[in-house]
């Protein structure tokens, strides 16, 4: 192709070098050195201290649970949406993106109002003579916050991949004798793997690394790994330790990226 077209990439190549690659290198630089600039593994090894390890473990646990819940909620939803025969693909995307126009922090805070001891939900439960729900400031509230915030990121990739499956491929499975359950497990589910992977990534990573949801819904007592890192940067000012812990966090993200690369060979992602 023409040189002109190649030159057009320059702004983006320079931009991504300065604002993506170099900053990432800096995280590694800070993470692998101490305050005097000497090489050290101490910042990474710090993950093993009881406080940090506990935060990491809790983060992994809560984000895994949230991812599973998101998947279980989103898959049937995506299938129903596909069968609705709504030809307006963009409308469905819109419905899930629309909430973002209300600030994410406020939306999450609203759950406080809903979940409080005398909140809306408990009032309704009380009215129905059902036991009240006291999950505010517990890990359960954090899971709820994660599911609430990241569910659209699971629904959209699943919907996108399911809607693209050739209806005749499903018909062919039925035609060859498969009942609807067999058709689902042998044809629909395997064909939706790229969407599943991409959905898992898009829920798991932000859930694993959040510090906002735990701050807003977990009270101040529950610390996730995101909270620890955030505090190192904005309160304690120990950037080296914060960077070291971030490197540990990125290990998990890289594992996820590799899995995504393997399954999503297209290279463009199915997220949008």
């Amino acid at each position: 192709m023409s040189n002109g077209k190649k030159l057009l990439a320059c702004p983006y190549v320079i931009w991504s070098a300065v604002f993506i690659i170099i900053p990432l290198c800096m995280v590694f630089y800070y993470g692998l050195t101490d305050k005097s600039g000497a090489f050290t593994m101490a910042n990474i090894a710090a993950i093993a201290t009881a406080e940090h390890a506990k935060a990491l473990w809790l983060s992994i646990l809560l984000s895994l649970i949230s991812t599973v819940i998101c998947f279980l909620l989103a898959y049937p939803l995506a299938m129903i949406l596909c069968n609705l025969n709504v030809n307006q693909h963009s409308f469905i995307v819109l419905v899930f993106i629309l909430p973002m126009w209300m600030n994410f922090l406020l939306r999450t805070l609203a759950w406080q109002t809903l979940l409080e001891k005398t909140g809306v939900i408990n009032n309704i439960l009380g009215f129905l003579h059902l036991p009240t729900l006291n999950i505010i400031n517990t890990p359960y509230a954090i899971i709820l916050g994660m599911v609430y915030n990241f569910l659209p990121f699971m629904v959209l990739p699943l919907y996108n991949v399911l809607v693209k499956i050739d209806k005749n491929v499903i018909n062919a499975a039925r035609d060859l004798g498969a009942n609807s359950i067999q058709t689902f497990f042998k044809v629909i589910l395997p064909l939706s793997v790229p969407g599943i992977i991409s959905g898992i990534t898009m829920v798991f990573v932000p859930a694993l690394t959040t510090f906002v949801i735990s701050t807003l819904l977990g009270g101040s007592k529950i610390l996730l790994i995101g909270n620890v890192i955030e505090q190192e940067f904005t309160q304690t000012g120990n950037w080296n330790l914060g960077s070291g812990l971030s490197i540990v966090l990125m290990l998990f993200i890289i594992i996820n990226m590799v899995a995504t690369a393997i399954f999503d060979k297209e290279g463009t992602g199915t997220a949008l």
Partner: protein, 262 residues
């Protein structure tokens, strides 16, 4: 058959209740006369009036909008230009660049935030409006690329060549033939970028300087002291405005025509 569809509708309704209940809550709170969100103090619209006297919130709104608009614009320009070039690249180069594009999408926002913070510290850039804007452009470009790229792939390369064959210059051919085809992707990329910028808290949190606030960071600092009710009314205004705009777009003659077609 009928029971099944009823069940499906119930399921969708529950999910939407879950997604939109907090939004409804915030709207109700914006009319709450009591200053705390814990109890209902009667209906009022006073927060909608006092909102316009609250210069701190208005300044944050101004910053948020300006950053969202500028970052979405620059991201759209850089991203779209990049797409033209990426689509003409050899497989390997394309894979590398798309891989880099995916980094901000797949990486944790907190890591992107601190990495940019470290960059600005090292470069000695003063934290403020500019650092937020640069960061937002950075995380917005991938959204533009990922929404323009599929359009670019669908494009028939012969169309562009036909335009050149008929005597058009490269630039003329691009704007007359290629651009109209990828425009929907460009627009949805812009809209996506604008939305993402508007909703961002984490990256702004790490790259903002003292004295400069967006709505997100302002809310975060207010969390401990209690959110000012004006914030609820402002959010309600923004949300309802967007809703009306979307409604109008759907009701416009063009939107209608599309529907009737189906």
């Amino acid at each position: 058959m009928k029971a099944k569809t009823t069940l499906q509708k119930l399921y969708i309704s529950l999910i939407f209740l879950f997604l939109y209940a907090p939004i409804a809550t915030l709207m109700v709170l914006s009319f709450n006369a009591s200053r705390t969100r814990a109890k209902w103090g009667g209906f009022t619209i006073k927060w909608y009036i006092s909102l316009f006297d609250n210069s701190a919130i208005l300044q944050a709104l101004y910053n948020t909008m300006l950053i969202a608009l500028l970052s979405a614009f620059f991201a759209t320009v850089i991203g779209t230009i990049a797409c033209i070039s990426i689509s003409a690249m050899k497989r390997r180069n394309r894979a590398i660049l798309m891989g880099i594009t995916n980094i901000p999408m797949l990486n944790a926002e907190i890591v992107t935030g601190i990495s940019l913070m470290l960059l600005f510290i090292t470069l000695g850039v003063k934290f403020g409006f500019i650092t937020i804007l640069l960061s937002h452009i950075t995380f917005n470009i991938p959204f533009v690329i990922l929404s323009v790229m599929p359009r670019m792939k669908q494009l028939n390369p012969s169309v562009y060549e036909a335009a050149l064959d008929l005597g058009a210059s490269h630039i003329y051919a691009f704007f007359k033939v290629v651009f109209p085809d990828i425009l929907p992707g460009v627009l949805s990329g812009f809209l996506m970028a604008f939305t993402m910028s508007l909703d961002d808290f984490i990256i702004t949190h790490f790259t903002k300087g003292p004295g400069v606030d967006t709505l997100s960071t302002k809310i975060y600092t207010e969390v401990k002291k209690g959110i000012k009710p004006e914030m609820y009314s402002l959010s309600t205004i923004i949300f309802v405005t967007v809703l009306i705009l979307l409604f109008l777009v759907n009701m416009s003659p063009e939107g209608k025509k599309k529907k009737e077609h189906k």
